[in-house]
Symmetry: C2
Subunit: 298 residues, 2 copies
Amino acid sequence: MTDRHTVKTGIVQHSFLSDIETNRARNLSGIANLAAEGAELIVLSELHDSLYFCQTENVDNFELASEIPGDFTDFYSAAAAENDVVLVASSFERRAPGLYHNTAVVFEKDGSIAGIYRKMHIPDDPGFYEKFYFTPGDLGFKPIDTSVGRIGVLVCWDQWYPEAARLMAMAGAEILVYPTAIGWNPDDPADEKERQLNAWITIQRSHAVANGIPVVSVNRCGFEEDPSGQTSGIDFWGTSFIAGPQGELLYKAPEDRPEEAAIEIDLGRSENVRRWWPFLRDRRIDAYTGLSKRFLLK
Amino acid sequence: MTDRHTVKTGIVQHSFLSDIETNRARNLSGIANLAAEGAELIVLSELHDSLYFCQTENVDNFELASEIPGDFTDFYSAAAAENDVVLVASSFERRAPGLYHNTAVVFEKDGSIAGIYRKMHIPDDPGFYEKFYFTPGDLGFKPIDTSVGRIGVLVCWDQWYPEAARLMAMAGAEILVYPTAIGWNPDDPADEKERQLNAWITIQRSHAVANGIPVVSVNRCGFEEDPSGQTSGIDFWGTSFIAGPQGELLYKAPEDRPEEAAIEIDLGRSENVRRWWPFLRDRRIDAYTGLSKRFLLK
């Protein structure tokens, strides 16, 4: 663990096709470009090797999954090692026949696996049928130690849960990282789209505020049609961003096109921010047991 | 409890002086004005009967406290009844000799006390010496039933804790209400002031997002000097606001001057918002026990 240091962090926001090799080439190009800019930590978006296949429930899609270690980790391990970066990648993990997870894999600069995080909160709503594919994670909220810091990796739907961010911070995370795949229903009116995008930014910035640590969120962009034709598809809204430990925006990508960006994040600023706003000091842990209940009213 | 209804909600943002009668007259005028506009629920700011006395630690300030029931509740009970409104007021409660709380009192339209909430999270930082004055609340996070809905009242420093908002929502709160007193150190540079104000707005909007319910936050405005002369005083930043259940801003007051505003809030929209973004459905209550710990790393 290192203290009071700056980490140049790279964001790879891309759109994807059905061809896995093309997607991998896009991600690899992004990693190489950002490493050349000096990025030491690079974050890919969620399930970046494929289209967002959860738009339908189709058993054939389980063919996209890969064991850990396996083909997926072989490829991104080499990408991390060749570019000498810590890499946060997002896989469709085949753990056993009929047992699959949505799993982030963090690679050390030498290509070794620093740790994995299995998505704990699994969504399910029209066009996002993730409960069909992914068993909820069973590793809990444990940050992953790397040479650039202790990283609290959470995935997409987790971003709506302050509990997840808090537990990562309490376990020592110095930075929160969210690979994600979220977008608009093209049929929604502009004001609803605006509310959704702002809610998504607001809740993740709030995790930075509540915990006094930076947040990195990386989304895909581009339109993907619904193979079933039942919906109008998903217009992934990009807008990958980085917030500092007061929730202040350090960087925001465009909504509608690929972007790669390398941004300096000062992990040392958390010490000062938490001294002035010592929220961890005053938590009422004697009164929080209800948080482990489903509901308290009835 | 009522369902699917709109509540016209009044915000009283004022500046205050050392003279309590003047402050009460300002608050009462605000209540009457907003009631005349049709407000059914009116929210005052924190400790609105006095200057923000916590800038110094002075035993004489305990004279400002009032028992419940007592002089404070007599006055605001009459204000609620005369104007036929549900009123959220904020008192310095004298519970026993040497035992004081920062206590919100909610009055029903007939002037009866619907319930009280004792501030659970107590801050203490230069200029905000609240731990000297206020014993942390012992009533937990229990919303208060009123004729306009079930109100989750929290106070100021509570606003930084997602745990508090979540527990109120889980106990059935239909709306979160934060009386507050927060401002800038005039010596801070403009960029720091901007980060603080935005963090304060962001974290409270995030409680709306995470829980799918509206949030009302009412702050005082105006400059108050530090009686000790040790600091440059506090420039209270106003900016009282209302957010809808997706965190969208419905109203925001100016930073630097008093304002009274009555805004329609549709409590029925939460049903629809929570159907589309069913965060309560997917909480990992099997993995949240760590939230009742102080820290998890060591």
